[in-house]
């Protein structure tokens, strides 16, 4: 049996076309399909396909759960930078989804990396934190802090980051975002990758041969790093803000938050149920609003970059499980978008509670428990508090319902109705906590002076929104 890991998302269709052109049509993988697991390859009965978010594929291939994968080379590099010994072999550039990985700064702010290095501390935002960290070390920034973000890193400069390391189609696309590319780290595209042990011990030619044809002699995908800069930090501090900053979410919470705000009489022009502009006018004196990913909000509030943020309690809990000393806390419950964070297992597991599951696995002599989770700190806290014996938390980027039972024993997942869980032959055996959308604030740092009035007025209106949602 040859096991393949293929990408979901935007590259699903071109990848499917490429496979079909190579005589490896995958049933249920093409346009419009949402299937994730056990997809057959009719021309190769010994092959089975599982579909993942691209970011998750390198780990699955490294673990040996899959022999061959197709994913962006940048995600492989992101993993190899942190874990140089992991057994992945990039084999060939499939020349799909061309892009680049860039280090970019706000236009006209920092013409060179040396100018950046003169900051007291360089604020770097990236959804590729390992590569960004290596980049900062190679550049020899005297001091920097890295904001690891879930996505949309380009939205952070100039207010919330001095430098962003992110993927874009090309340099022009970077400039269109108001950023200036200071360094090109790598050329990126979909690559064919393999597990080293599988390469060494299994006959993979039935899949590799047709895919390798026409994929050789392609561009160099190696990570490039900057020469060391020679900068002495200056002591200049950033000027204090004279306005209040509020972060509001995009993604699946947007609709709920839009509704809750409206219920409290708050409307931001351009922030609708399904569409948004990045910086909608607030319509309130002294208040600035920005739309970012909810997963990153608690940290930004803790840092003082935002005074208030609206996000799910699950994201705040994840932050606090990772950093118990953080000053971020829940100020107001908006009572919308309710769901549970639950422990989910295979529907056929003979257990209805976590205690029963643990007892069953122990009786079976199971040596290690694999927990898949989009919120790894929450999962780790849960595993510790439930006294799991040896366990590993597998951070995942999405497409989570297909991980159990083949690739993980437990899934820590947000569940609303339980319908998707049941459809995938899974079951909930423990509810860990209940999440609703809340307002996050920073402990012991209420604004003073001219900002105080705007802050308290905004808090009051958000409180009313929470109360209105209850009614």
């Amino acid at each position: 049996m040859i096991k393949l890991a293929l990408p979901t998302g935007d590259l699903r269709v071109p990848t499917s076309e490429r496979l079909s052109a190579a005589g490896l049509y995958v049933e249920g993988y093409g346009e419009g399909s949402r299937k994730l697991r056990s997809l057959p390859v009719p021309s190769q009965p010994d092959a089975r396909v599982r579909v993942f978010r691209e970011r998750d594929i390198p780990m699955q291939v490294a673990l040996g759960n899959y022999d061959i994968g197709i994913t962006r080379l940048s995600f492989v590099t992101e993993m190899q930078v942190r874990f140089p010994d992991q057994p992945i072999v990039p084999l060939a550039d499939l020349q799909i989804g061309r892009a680049g990985l860039f280090a970019a700064a706000p236009q006209d702010a920092f013409p060179t990396l040396t100018d950046l290095g003169r900051l007291t501390s360089v604020r770097i935002a990236s959804d590729m934190p390992n590569i960004a960290d290596k980049f900062a070390r190679a550049a020899r920034f005297p001091r920097y802090r890295l904001q690891s973000v879930w996505g949309a890193a380009e939205a952070y400069p100039p207010e919330d980051a001095d430098l962003v390391v992110f993927a874009a189609p090309d340099e022009d696309a970077v400039r269109k975002l108001g950023l200036e590319p200071l360094f090109s780290l790598m050329s990126d595209s979909l690559w064919l990758i393999a597990n080293a042990a599988a390469l060494a011990s299994k006959d993979l030619t039935a899949i590799l041969t047709p895919l390798m044809q026409g994929a050789r002699g392609t561009h160099n995908g190696r990570l490039r790093l900057p020469a060391p800069i020679n900068a002495v930090p200056s002591a200049t501090e950033r000027p204090p803000r004279d306005f209040v900053r509020l972060a509001i979410p995009d993604g699946h919470q947007q609709r709920h938050v839009h509704g809750a705000l409206k219920g409290g009489g708050i409307e931001f022009e351009g922030y609708e149920e399904k569409t948004y502009v990045r910086r909608p006018p607030s319509g309130m004196d002294g208040v600035e609003v920005k739309v970012i990913r909810p997963q990153d909000m608690a940290q930004l509030v803790a840092l003082g970059e935002f005074d208030l943020a609206i996000a799910g309690r699950d994201t705040l809990n994840e932050h606090l499980f990772a950093f118990p000393n953080s000053p971020a806390y829940e100020l107001i419950d908006l009572h919308v978008s309710p769901y549970n964070i639950s422990a989910v297992v295979d529907g056929d597991l003979p257990a209805d509670t976590m205690d029963e599951a643990l007892a069953y696995w122990r009786a079976q002599g199971k040596r290690s428990i694999t927990v898949a989770a989009e919120f790894p700190a929450t999962a780790d806290h849960y595993a510790r508090s439930r006294h799991f014996w040896r366990y590993q938390v597998m951070p995942i980027a999405g497409a989570s319902e297909a991980f159990v039972p083949e690739d993980a024993d437990i899934l820590i997942e947000g569940t609303e109705t339980g319908k998707t869980i049941a459809e995938n032959n899974l079951k909930i055996i423990d509810n860990i906590n209940r999440s609703t959308t809340c307002v996050i604030a920073r402990r012991n740092s209420e604004p003073s002076g001219p900002r105080a009035e705007a802050y308290h007025a905004l808090v009051e209106r958000l409180r009313k929104a929470g109360e209105a949602a209850l009614v």
Partner: protein
């Protein structure tokens, strides 16, 4: 179950460790140094800000976000002791000088099976100028290792030699750093590539890769190189000063122009101690480091002895006397057994209290009736008074 790259220290290992530690403490205290210890965890920026660890070294540090790392700034398990010791000096000690020593571990990732945790016996001499402090540290380090019965040879170098060559080659500051980092990581080919940009006909790379004996060799280098590379004069003169003093004291040594180690903070003469071909320790002058960490510059130098390298080279230690075994026959006799153990330990006799079958060797069986001694296979001796037991056991 043991984590990769970490190692247990078994009783025999700890015995060796304590021998080195004991010798190190005796010598350091004898020279007027004071012991300190820095925390295992430090801010990463302590090392990046000082600009003194190469990216290659920084790639090997154990860095992570601490429980309060929500600021996005990472911490590290200390990869080096000198920079934390300098931070300790800057933040805690008044005055322009300090003589410090420490015994502590450092953590550096190794991709293979080598240990990732090393113990260092280190000395930092802050505020003492060239060349007196440099000579003192060479003598101190030698004294520690000599006292352990290991013969060493001394090797001297100076990072200014490499830097002056790179400067003369017309490399920009960034290019110099890049080449220097390659040299520090052992890639001497980098130096060969620079040679094309240098004036003169001498093969700089071959010349500097040659190790020579004492002050005469330094003079030869100066004669051949100083015209084309004027900047090499100052480091060679500093090296010469140390080499001449060591020669006067009868200490043979080698000059290794490219013998720089993987730390960038050295600004003056550096030395290594070798037992055979094994480097067991070394250090050097770092006059700019205190300024980089946050105070006005203070001249300074230091060294560390590497436990991992030195421990296997120690000659066997004399056997320790086996402890006296006190075997307790009943619970009622337990208090009597522990009282005897305390008396013996106060007399510096090592004791173990056991129950169960006889273990052999020097043994006392304690019962409610008294004490039975079995000594060197002789007939058992019955005693009732604890003082008599102590006296019998203290006989040679």
């Amino acid at each position: 179950m043991r984590s990769k790259g970490m190692r247990d220290m078994l009783p025999a290992d700890m015995q060796t460790f304590r021998r080195i530690e004991g010798a190190f403490l005796d010598v350091c205290l004898g020279w007027g140094y004071h012991e300190v210890r820095t925390p295992t965890i430090e801010h990463l920026y302590l090392f990046t800000q000082a600009g003194t660890l190469s990216p290659q070294m920084l790639d090997r540090v154990y860095s992570f976000l601490d429980w309060d790392g929500w600021t996005g700034e990472r911490v590290v398990l200390r990869p080096d002791s000198t920079i934390p010791a300098v931070r300790l000096f800057v933040e805690n000690l008044d005055g322009a000088s300090a003589k410090l020593f420490y015994v502590q571990n450092v953590f550096r990732f190794d991709p293979g099976d080598e240990t990732r945790e090393d113990w260092q016996f280190g000395v930092e001499l802050l505020g003492d100028t060239f060349p007196r402090g440099d000579i003192e540290l060479v003598l101190l380090a030698r004294e520690v290792i000599d006292s352990l019965g290991v013969n060493t040879t001394i090797e001297l170098s100076h990072p200014g030699i490499v830097r002056s060559v790179l400067d003369r080659a017309g490399l920009s500051r960034s290019e110099q750093l890049a080449v220097y980092e390659r040299v520090l990581s052992g890639d001497l080919d980098a130096f060969e590539e620079v040679e094309e940009k240098l004036p003169g006909s001498a093969s700089i790379h071959s010349l500097l890769a040659t190790k020579g004996e004492g002050p005469d060799y330094i003079e030869n280098l100066r004669t051949v190189l100083a015209t084309d590379i004027p900047g090499i004069g100052a480091p060679l003169a500093e090296l010469q000063a140390v080499a001449t003093m060591l020669s006067r004291m009868g200490l043979a040594h080698q000059i290794a122009p490219l013998g720089v180690r993987s730390f960038e903070y050295y600004t003056g003469p550096v030395f290594s101690l070798y037992a055979g071909d094994k480097r067991v320790g070394g250090g050097g002058r770092y006059d700019a480091l205190v300024g980089l960490v946050g105070r006005d510059n203070v001249p300074a130098s230091g060294f560390a002895i590497d436990h991992e390298a030195l421990a296997p080279l120690l000659p066997p230690a004399g056997a320790r006397p086996e402890p006296v075994t006190i075997r307790c026959e009943s619970e009622a006799a337990l208090s009597r057994a522990f009282a005897l153990a305390r008396e013996l330990r106060q007399g510096s006799t090592s004791v173990q209290v056991v129950s169960g079958a006889p273990a052999g060797g020097r043994e006392v069986v304690v019962s409610e009736a008294g004490y039975t001694l079995a000594l060197n296979g002789g007939s058992p001796l019955q005693l009732s008074d604890i003082a008599d037991v102590v006296r019998e056991l203290s006989r040679p």
